[in-house]
Amino acid sequence: MPKSQNAKTMIVAKGLRKVYGDFVAVDGIDFEVKQGEAFGLLGPNGAGKSTTMRMIASTSMRSGGELEILGKDPNKNGPEIRAHLGVVPQQDNLDRELKVWENLYIYGRYFGLSRKFMKDKIEELIEFAQLGEKRNAKTEELSGGMKRRLTIARALVNEPDILMLDEPTTGLDPQARHVLWDRLFRLKEQGVTLVITTHYMDEAEQLCDRLVVMDKGRIMAEGSPADLIKQYSSKEVLEVRFGSSANKNVAKQIEGLGDRTEVLPDRILIYSENGEKILERIVKLGLHPLTSLVRRSSLEDVFLRLTGRTLVD
């Protein structure tokens, strides 16, 4: 998608802060999002992602710093900005008693869309959400994946300039996640600007052109998934398990073998350019791991490197 230098800037945050009483939820972050970009906020629960999202969605007043959405200040022009956003909240808030099509209709009305316009729009969105057979079903009869797709379709009713998705696939089974990713890919292809929060590294890798890694209200790193992996991790990772009681002692013996070693409660991670080679050397030392696995580095490793913690506790 157009990510040229002269693409329109949709969101600008400078020193953005949000404080609840004594608690600093977002602690001075800077980022920009350009038109057509898929921008991700990656971090564990409580990192400040959702708070950042709410401030962008213009439903939470910032405590400090600057924030500009579509050239406007959300603290002053909330409704005008929201007229151009599509928001998919973490928790579906569909109306359970209304039918699938009615949920779309009502939401369109909130945006001031005419009944005539909504007539065609509803059919278009039902098709996009692959809910043709459920058109007249009450939403309480839908599966989790279907509800999610309907919530996304609902967020598209006003043809938003920015679509915001807060943890879009949390709680869905793998198949439902892939269906959803496919839908989001289509939107990306159409040039919709996406802002996504997730604590799933695979989701961030799949969907985001660029992302920021957040922890404790701060941005730890920024870049494309590939760049971040290159910068903060090695090409491959060897995971070995010696049993939870032995891991710590063994770690001392094999410490210098790779570029870097991380000891987790259940396994040891050894970062290097060639995992198989490291494994051979471990075996030569006379050590025999219970299980071993060589894999590519992922954003999970980037996060571990940056924070010393795993993403999903």
């Binding site: 609840y20 009615e102 009305r109 001031g112 316009f117």
Partner: protein
């Protein structure tokens, strides 16, 4: 559709879109709403109006209360109670639903709708419901001979307005509820029931012991009932008291809405 046009339209008519949603949701319960609207008055009028009424009327030597039959005395109070109950249903349940049960207010607030528009929209829908309930009730009252046709339009207005006043207060109160732990049970037992029993509904307020009369004075039901009795059968109410009644209802409505708007905004724009 033109983006500027719809943005302006949405900002101007937002409250009506919320009302449209509420009415659509109400229509899912239309059968229940209609049967309650007609069934409720019929049961009350048969049991209390005629049943208790014949006892009262015979014991007062045919003079009834304030010189009218018991059912005529009772009618304005029952009407206002029904309107209040209807408006309460449409302000309290949707508010708890919107903030707690399925968080639909947060969804609304993600669009260009504002907290104030959501409050207004709920009030509009509650007004529609209070209107319909009052109309149905009046038809039944008229069929029982409890009201005259001439008094009906005024009674209708007073009852609907009483519904809105109490509805606004309930909306304000519900907007503070964080969890649904028996809120409605508390309201029904400790607010609605005493108000219904001690607002001069079944006998004049001045016949109650003095230490209970204050309930009437802070009750929208008594203010509207006394006002309506003056219209319905010419109960003599001094001018200043009529003004107090009207002022009480208006102030309740305004104060309720101001508090609700503030609380909605602070909950939605955290």
């Amino acid at each position: 559709m033109d983006v500027e046009l719809r943005t302006q339209r949405g900002m101007r008519y937002g409250a009506w879109y919320v009302a449209e949603y509420r009415i659509r949701q109400m229509s899912k319960w239309l059968g229940a709403i209609i049967s309650v609207s007609f069934g409720n008055p019929i049961i009350y009028l048969l049991a209390v109006g005629i049943g208790v009424g014949s006892l009262v009327d015979s014991n007062t030597g045919g003079n009834g209360i304030y010189g009218v039959s018991y059912i005529t005395f009772l009618a304005p109070a029952l009407l206002a109670t029904a309107a209040i109950q209807a408006a309460m249903d449409e302000t309290s349940f949707p508010t708890l639903e919107g903030f707690v049960w399925n968080k639909s207010f947060y969804g609304m607030n993600s669009t260009q709708l504002t907290a104030g528009q959501i409050v207004d929209g709920i009030m509009i829908a509650a007004f529609v419901r209070a209107f319909l309930t009052s109309a149905a009730y009046l038809v039944v009252l008229w069929a029982f001979g409890a009201v005259t046709i001439a008094a009906m339009p005024f009674l209708f207005l007073v009852a609907s307005f009483a519904g809105m006043s109490f509805g606004a207060l309930m909306l304000a109160a519900t907007s503070f509820v964080k969890e649904d732990d028996g809120f409605f049970a508390i309201v029904a037992r400790f607010i609605v029931a005493p108000m219904f029993l001690f607002s001069g509904t079944f006998y004049p307020l001045e016949q109650m012991p003095l230490f209970l009369q204050w309930i009437g004075w802070i009750s929208p039901l008594w203010h509207s009932t006394n006002f309506a009795r003056s219209i319905s059968f010419g109960l003599e109410v001094p001018g200043w008291l009529m003004i107090v009644h009207a002022a009480f209802l208006i102030i309740s409505l305004v104060v309720g809405m101001i508090i609700a708007r503030k609380q909605f905004a602070s909950r939605l724009l955290k």
